[in-house]
C-alpha cells in the first residue's frame, strides 16, 4: 500500500557547490510566526535606537576670514557653492573636498547678495559698497586662479540683496528700491518703489519667471511682476521679515522668515491669512531655503541653531547646533536634497546632512531594503510612548533649552490670560484671532 508522507531529499534543499547561492524557501503562513505585532514593536524600538546612534549630521566646515553674509547655489553644478563674507571675499567652494576652487576678489565692503544665473555661467554680487559686480564663473579645470570681474556698476545707495530669474536673464537688486537689470545693460531696466524704507531681501518665483517677492524694513512683504510698472500687493505684518523662500514644487506658496522667531507660509492668492505658522526658534529667523522636493525647508536663526521643518509642520523636525557655531546668517538646501549648508558669524560655512542618520554613499540593495523597512516600522509605531520618546529626543545646549522653555511659558501665560479674560466677560465679546491671522496688520493693493 502506498502511504504519502513528507520526504525531502537533501539535494533539492541544499546547494551543490560552495560558490552557489543558498536556497531560500518561503511560507507566509501567519501561524508559523506567532506574536508578529510584538516582534514588529521590538524591531521598531531597535530602529529608533539605531537612528539615534547613527545620527551624526555634521559633515565638515569651510572657513572664511570674516563672518559669512550670503550664499548662492549654482543651479547646474551640484558640487559648488558661492559664499560671500563681510570683508568682500567671495569664494566658490567645492563641497565634496571642502576646498576653495576660485576666489572672486574685488568688493571692498560686506557682500550682501550673491546669485548665479540660470545656466550657472555667470555670478552677480552686490555689496554694502554700493557696487554690483558681474563675474563669469570659470569652467572647471581652467588654470586661472583668480577671476577678474566682467563688469561693475556703482550707485548711490548700498545694496541689500540680489536674486536671478529662474528662467530668463534678468536679475533684481534691492536696496533703496527694487531694480531690475539685464546682463548687458548698464542701468536698471526698471525700478520699483513703494514706500520710503529699504528693501532687504528679494526672491524670484520658481514657477512664474516674472513674479518676485521682496521684504522691506517697514515690516512688509511686497509682490511685484517685472513685466508691469506697478507692484501687485503688499502685506504688512507686526515684525520684519528677514528672508523669503518660494516652494519650488508649489510655486504659489512662499514662506517668510520673520524677526519674531516664527516662519509664516502664505499662499500668494490669499494673503490675508497665513496657511501655516512654523514656530520653534527662540530668536529671529535670519534665512530660509526650501528643499528641491518642496517638502522641507531649512531655517537659520540668530539663536545659533539651524532647524529643518516639514513644509506643513508647525514644529521643527530636526535641530542642528554646535558650540562653535554662532549666529547663523544664511542657509541653503543642496540641490539633491541631502545636505544643508549654513553660514554663520564665526567665519565658517558648515555642511550638514539633511537626514541626520542617513547612510551616505552607494548602498547595497539589501541595505536599502533594510532602511526602508526600518522607516516603515518607525512610522507605524511612532505614537507608542517608548518609541516616541526615543524619536523625539534631541540634546540641546542649555541656553537654547532655557530660551525655548521661556518662550513656552510666555505663550502659555498669554494664552491663559486671554482665556480668563474671555471667561470673565460676556460670551462673544472677546474673540481671539487665530495665530495665522494675528501677526498680519493689513493687506494693501
Amino acid at each position: 500500500m502506498k502511504v504519502k508522507t513528507i520526504s525531502r531529499s537533501t539535494d533539492e534543499f541544499t546547494r551543490e557547490r560552495s560558490n552557489d547561492l543558498q536556497r531560500v524557501f518561503r511560507n507566509y503562513d501567519p501561524n508559523l510566526r506567532p506574536q508578529e505585532k510584538a516582534v514588529e514593536y521590538v524591531r521598531a524600538l531597535n530602529a529608533a535606537k539605531l537612528e539615534k546612534i547613527f545620527g551624526r549630521p555634521f559633515v565638515g566646515a569651510m572657513e572664511h576670514n570674516e563672518a559669512i553674509s550670503c550664499m548662492a547655489k549654482n543651479p547646474n553644478h551640484l558640487k559648488g557653492i558661492f559664499a560671500g563674507s563681510e570683508d568682500g571675499d567671495i569664494r566658490l567652494w567645492d563641497i565634496t573636498s571642502r576646498r576653495t576652487v576660485r576666489k572672486f576678489p574685488g568688493h571692498r565692503g560686506a557682500v550682501r547678495g550673491l546669485t548665479a544665473n540660470t545656466d550657472g555661467s555667470r555670478l552677480v554680487s552686490c555689496g554694502a559698497d554700493c557696487i554690483i559686480r558681474r563675474w563669469t564663473v570659470p569652467v572647471e579645470d581652467s588654470s586661472d586662479d583668480s577671476v577678474k570681474p566682467e563688469d561693475f556698476h556703482i550707485s548711490k545707495n548700498a545694496y541689500w540683496g540680489v536674486d536671478h530669474q529662474w528662467k530668463g536673464d534678468q536679475f533684481a537688486t534691492v536696496g533703496a528700491q527694487v531694480d531690475i537689470w539685464n546682463h548687458t545693460s548698464n542701468a536698471p531696466v526698471r525700478s520699483f518703489q513703494w514706500g520710503t524704507d529699504t528693501v532687504i531681501s528679494v526672491r524670484f518665483n520658481p514657477g512664474h519667471p516674472d513674479l518676485l517677492a521682496t521684504s522691506a524694513s517697514d515690516r512688509s512683504i511686497t509682490l511685484y511682476d517685472i513685466k508691469t510698472t506697478i507692484p501687485i500687493k503688499k502685506l504688512i505684518m507686526q515684525t520684519k521679515t528677514n528672508s523669503i523662500a518660494w516652494n519650488p514644487m508649489e510655486p504659489m506658496n512662499f514662506t517668510a522668515a520673520n524677526e519674531d522667531g516664527n516662519c509664516y507660509s502664505y499662499d500668494l492668492r490669499k494673503l490675508n491669512e497665513a496657511t501655516m505658522v512654523h514656530t520653534d526658534h527662540a530668536a529671529a529667523v535670519m534665512d530660509i531655503d526650501y528643499s528641491p522636493t518642496g517638502r522641507e525647508f531649512v531655517t537659520g536663526s540668530y539663536d545659533r541653531t539651524v532647524r529643518i521643518f516639514r513644509y506643513n509642520g508647525g514644529h521643527s523636525r530636526e535641530i542642528y547646533h554646535t558650540s562653535r557655531m554662532q549666529r547663523v546668517f544664511c542657509v541653503k538646501f543642496s540641490c539633491d536634497a541631502s545636505y544643508v549648508i549654513s553660514g554663520s558669524d564665526d567665519y565658517n560655512l558648515r555642511l550638514w546632512k539633511a537626514m541626520a542618520s542617513e547612510q551616505l554613499g552607494v548602498l547595497l540593495p539589501r541595505e536599502k531594503k533594510r532602511h526602508e523597512y526600518d522607516e516603515a516600522l518607525k512610522n507605524r509605531y511612532k505614537h507608542l510612548p517608548e518609541v516616541k520618546r526615543i524619536l523625539r529626543h534631541r540634546h540641546l545646549p542649555l541656553p537654547i533649552y532655557k530660551a525655548a522653555a521661556l518662550r513656552r511659558t510666555m505663550t502659555e501665560a498669554a494664552r491663559k490670560k486671554e482665556e480668563k479674560r474671555k471667561a470673565h466677560s460676556a460670551p462673544g465679546s472677546i474673540s481671539t484671532k487665530p495665530l495665522r491671522k494675528r501677526r498680519i496688520v493689513r493687506e494693501v493693493e
Binding site: T5, I6, F13, T14, R23, V24, N27, Q35, V39, V42
Partner: protein
Amino acid sequence: MWFKFITKQYFTPLVGETVRDVVFLQDQSFFAAAQKKYTYIYGQEGIEAHCLKDQGAVLKLQFLKNHFLLASINKFGQLHYEDVSMGAMIGNIRTGLGRTDVMQVNPYNAVVGLGHSGGTVTMWKPTSSAPLVKMLCHHGPVSALAFHPNGHLMATAGKERKIKLWDLRKFEVLQTLPGHAKTLDFSQKGLLACGTGSFVQVLSDFSGTQNYSRYMNHSMVKGYKISNLLFRPYEDVLGIGHSMGWSSILIPGSGEPNFDSWVANPFETRKQRGEKEVHLLLDKLPPETIMLDPTKIGTVKTARKKEKSTTKEIEAEMEATIEAVKDGINMKKKTKGRSKPSKKLKKRQEIIAKAKRPFLEQQMQDGQLSIKKQKINEEVELPKSLQRFARKKAAT
C-alpha cells in the same frame, strides 16, 4: 536535521539522579534538565553550563522561544520564569493551587497553561501574580493539556475519562470525546495525538472544521507505558517516549511540508544557525508583551470612564495638595521692616487658602445639590397629620 525531543530515560543514567523533565532552549546546542533538586542547563556536547538553584525541585519545564524565557513549575506549585539570555529571574508566582505537573505553553500568545487537580486550567503571564484565565474544565483532576498552534483551540484530558476540546476565544467546549489521555499533543497541521497506557490515538479534523474524529491508532507492546508524545515539526513523525525507551511512528499529514527558511530551516548550515541566533536575540520580546490577545499591541486604548471619587478620596487629595504646598512655600526675606512675623503668617495662610480653593468650590457645588435633596426628603418624611406644619411652597 534536528529533532527537538530527548527523553529523561536516556539522560538519567548519564546524570545519575532522577530527571523529571528536559527541554531544548533556543536551538539544539542548549538544553535544560529538571533534576532531583535543581535545574541544570547543559551546553554543547552535554557540558554543564549553569545550575539554577532558585527554582527548587522542578516538575515541568517549558521554553518560550521568542522571549528567551524558561518557565518552570515546582513541587509547591510555584511558577518561575527565568530569562536565559541574561540569567535574570523575571517572575516567581505562587499559584496557590497546589502541586501540578501539567504545564504547556500556548505558542500563539506565549501564555503558560497549567492543569490542576481540582479540574481547573489556569493561564499565566510573567508580569502578574493572578492568573489571566481560570476555567473549570473537568470534574476530576486534569491529566494532560495541549494547545493548537493557531492559539484558538485547547485540548484537555481529565481523569474522569473525558477529552475536551475548548475554543479559547469564547472559552466554551467544542467537543467532548470519551477516553483517557495521559499525554496530549497537537501537530503543526492540527492533528491531536492522545496517549494512555500503551495505546496512541491520533485524531484529525478532516477539513479544518474543528470537528475531531478518529484518524489513526497505534498500540504498542502490552508492557510499554507511554509517558510522552511529541510531534516532530516539519516531518510526518510522532515520537513516543515510553518506559522502555523511545520510538517514532509515521503519521501522514501531521507535519508542515513547506518550511520558511527565515523561521526554521531543517537544512541550515553552521553560519546560518549563528546568524539566526543573533537575529533571535535582537528580536527578543520583553516579558510585558505576553498577553491573551497579542494583536492588541499598537492599537488604541479605549478610554476608561472617569469614576467620581468618594468624599474620602477627595479629602485625601485635598490633604495631599495642602501638604505639598506647605512644603513648597519659600518665603522671600524682605528688608526695611517689611518681613514681620505677622505678615509672613498672613501670606502663608493666603497661599494655603489658594491651594484649598478648587476643592472647596467643588464641595460647594456638590453641597448645594445635597441641600436640595435634603429638602425633598424632608417633605416625604413628615406624616400626613403633621403636613400642615411643614414649610409650604411659596405661592406662585
